[in-house]
């Protein structure tokens, strides 16, 4: 099993957010999670990425034969987990090039692979940026600093493309994007998709799923998955909303 979330319960500040959540993802699959605001989607993403504010009450998570909950944030990232944030944070004074370069090399180091040199990295970055319609000028700015919402989301996809993760979690990457930007972003995802990697796509709207075809759609309400199925579940939600699941 690639990712196996088993009976996961999570609390923050005395409030139970995830309740006995189960989810299995195989290699090569695209899963979508839909759910109303506040249902715990971002919490799930953060718990998987290793953010330290949460209290794990119960459950196990397995990722690529690792006990995921035993790894720290950077170890999970280096193992191939990527989270495209719902609200990417600004880091003034830090340029994307050295930032991503050392990110990719720390991953390579863990995998005992040869590190990538300055020149090859610069080329890689430029070509990926080009694919995503990110200007050279934007590459010169500090990470996320002064970017519009849409620019930030594209920047997340750029980083994802460079780091080429085994499991990419996209947390509402579609929100705040106009149709053109949505197209660029989803093209980026589809280009990256292979038999060997998996995606967990968190979204609020069905729209995104017109562009990225999910194998499974799950409905999350109050911190649990209440329904799973194929693309037809998304259509159902589009029609009737989340009401009937609550």
């Amino acid at each position: 099993m690639f990712l196996d979330i088993n009976n996961l319960s999570v609390r923050i500040e005395n409030k139970n957010i995830l309740n006995s959540l189960n989810l299995k993802i195989n290699k090569g699959e695209v899963h979508a999670i839909m759910g109303p605001n506040g249902s715990g989607k971002s919490t799930l993403a953060n718990v998987l990425a290793g953010k330290e504010d949460y209290e794990i009450l119960n459950g196990k998570v397995n990722f690529k034969d690792n006990d995921l909950l035993e790894l720290n944030i950077e170890e999970r990232a280096q193992e191939g987990m990527f989270l495209a944030f719902q609200y990417p944070v600004e880091i003034p004074g830090v340029n994307i090039t050295p930032f991503l370069h050392s990110a990719i090399n720390s991953k390579k180091k863990r995998m005992n692979e040869e590190e990538i040199d300055n020149l090859s990295f610069a080329k890689l970055l430029k070509s990926k940026a080009n694919e995503l319609g990110i200007s050279i000028d934007m590459l010169k700015r500090s990470v996320n600093t002064g970017f519009s919402g849409g620019e930030k989301k594209r920047y997340e996809i750029l980083q994802m493309s460079i780091l080429n993760p085994d499991l990419a979690i996209l947390d509402e990457t579609d929100s705040g994007l106009d149709i053109d930007a949505l197209k660029i972003v989803t093209d980026g995802v589809n280009r990256l998709k292979t038999e060997d990697n998996s995606f967990l796509i968190i979204t609020h709207y069905q729209k995104l799923l017109d562009y990225i075809k999910p194998d499974y759609v799950h409905v999350m309400v109050n911190g649990s998955i209440v329904k799973s199925g194929g693309a037809e579940v998304a259509a159902e939600i589009e029609k009737d909303g989340f009401q009937k699941f609550q």
């Binding site: 990425a49 290793g50 953010k51 720290n72 944030i73 950077e74 990232a77 280096q78 990527f82 989270l83 944030f85 990417p88 944070v89 880091i91 003034p92 004074g93 830090v94 340029n95 090039t97 050295p98 930032f99 991503l100 370069h101 050392s102 990110a103 990719i104 090399n105 720390s106 991953k107 300055n118 990295f121 500090s142 980083q159 780091l163």
Partner: protein, 483 residues
């Protein structure tokens, strides 16, 4: 910052103060203690003319009547001036060696280890270096090339011998010996340091640099630097420093005077990395430094950039006296304190001339149990019409046992003055750390990246060759800050 730096960060953050070694070399050292005899000894060792000795003795008389300034936010035991050596030089060093073949190989080796090669074929490209070991100047590179342009770059000892008129005219003209007790002390016992004179209209084509090293135990270092930029000239000068790890505190009390005449510009950068003491606060350098620049002529400019990471105690306020109309003073500072370090640093901008401008950018980073204070004074004298100051002070706290303090004074006697002041204090942002680590950077790398980003406005003012060095230094200073 480039990725090479990042790789270097990784390596660097793993070794602590790597300049802490001691060079085992025989030295000439008179007895400990401060008195007229020791001053006469220093003066005669340096073969000084009588006027110089008299100047020293006068300064000593002033010092005798003075108390240490007490206004800084620093806490340290009383300095016992009688328990310090005031002179230490490698044996048989009365005369500066003519060339490297006369220099003890151990010294050359020391500087190689510090990354400052002195051999002709290896010297740093584009940087002329004067190296000072304890009380004496060891070597100066690129001398010939500079002489062709009429630039004088030598030790202050040599300048006293060869250019007495310039020294007499300018020494103490910006920092009078009686200014405060540390300037009086330095004026009495200064041993070596650098002298620079840039003739009218000459733009110095390379960085001039001095590298100070305290080696001997219980020895104070009192260097004196004097830089004069004649009309329309330009010079960029750099200062670096290190000292071995020792359990006792050592005193460093330097005086640096800059004079910029009409249309001249001096850029003075410091990367201060004196031994800071260990993680329990034992040992380290007491750094009491007076740096002052005089924008004497119209349209002149003096810019101070400092990266302060070392020393147990830093007491330092590089200042500008903006006398010439339209003159400009700048101060860019990064001060990082870790463990038990204490820094009280800032600047003083004195606006005298019309349309004078000053700019202050200060970035303080406190970690561990350290205390970091920015202290600044901006004053506008009566005739300083339409003068302006911009001040920005940002403090970053890493952890919750450290302190950051901002003490700005403003004194305006001219109501056309324009003053802008911005200040912020923040904790290192957990969301930024999370973001970096989610991309695969280690906690330590993430902190160093964010702090370097925080300092960027200042680091980018450094000459290229040293910006990279400074970034590494910033990272090393953060070592041990993350659990």
């Amino acid at each position: 910052m480039n990725s090479e730096t990042l790789n270097a960060l990784d390596t660097y953050s793993k070794n602590k103060y790597k300049y802490g070694f001691v060079t085992d070399i025989e030295t000439d050292k008179p007895k400990k203690g401060l008195n007229e005899d020791i001053i006469k000894y220093i003066s005669s060792k340096k073969n000084e003319p009588k006027w110089m000795l008299d100047w020293r003795l006068n300064s000593f008389a002033k010092w005798n009547k003075m108390k240490e300034p007490e206004w800084a936010n620093l806490d340290f035991p009383k300095i016992d001036y009688q328990n310090i050596y005031y002179y230490s030089a490698p044996k048989n060093f009365e005369k500066k060696p003519k060339d490297l073949s006369e220099v003890d190989p151990k010294l050359i080796e020391t500087y190689n280890k510090l990354g400052i090669p002195l051999e002709e074929q290896k010297v740093l490209a584009g940087v002329a270096v004067d190296v000072v070991f304890d009380s004496v100047s060891v070597a100066t590179t690129y001398k010939g090339e500079l002489e062709k342009l009429g630039i004088i770059f030598c030790s202050i000892g040599e300048a006293i011998q060869k250019h007495p008129d310039l020294v007499k005219k300018y020494l103490g003209s910006v920092i009078p010996p009686g200014d405060h007790s540390f300037s009086a002390l330095n004026s009495a016992v200064f041993t070596d340091g650098s002298f620079v004179y840039i003739p009218e209209g000459v733009k110095c084509p390379m960085e001039l640099s001095t590298y100070f090293r305290i080696n001997a135990e219980n020895t104070g270092q009192f260097e004196r630097t004097l830089i004069i930029a004649d009309k329309g000239s330009y010079v960029s000068y750099l200062e670096g420093c290190t000292a071995p790890k020792r359990d006792d505190n050592q005193l460093h009390a330097a005086n640096v005077e800059l004079i910029a005449l009409e249309d001249a510009e001096i850029k003075y950068s410091t990367v201060q990395n004196w031994y800071p003491g260990d993680e329990n606060g034992k040992g380290g350098i007491y750094n009491f430094v007076t740096k002052r620049g005089l924008c004497a002529g119209k349209n002149s400019k003096i810019s101070w950039t400092q990266v302060e990471t070392g020393s147990a105690i830093t007491w330092k306020y590089p200042s500008c006296i903006l006398k010439g109309d339209n003159s400009i003073g700048e101060f860019y500072s990064v001060a990082i304190t870790n463990n038990f370090q204490q820094a009280d640093t800032g600047t003083k901008m004195t606006h005298i001339g019309k349309n004078t401008k000053s700019k202050i950018i200060s970035k303080g980073i406190s970690l561990g149990k350290s205390q970091n204070t920015y202290r600044g004074e901006v004053s506008f004298l009566r005739k300083a019409d339409k003068a302006r100051n911009y001040t920005q002070c940002d403090s970053l706290l890493v952890g919750n046992q450290c302190g950051a303090h901002t003490v700005p004074y403003i004194d305006s006697k001219n109501n056309t003055a324009v003053i802008e002041h911005e200040a912020s204090t923040s904790k290192i942002n957990e969301d930024q750390l999370y973001y970096c680590r989610q991309r695969g950077l280690s906690h330590e790398e993430a902190v160093s990246l964010i702090v370097n980003g925080f300092c960027k406005q200042v680091l980018q003012e450094l000459p290229m060759e040293f910006a990279v060095e400074a970034q590494k230094l910033v990272s090393i200073s953060l070592e041990g800050s993350v659990g």
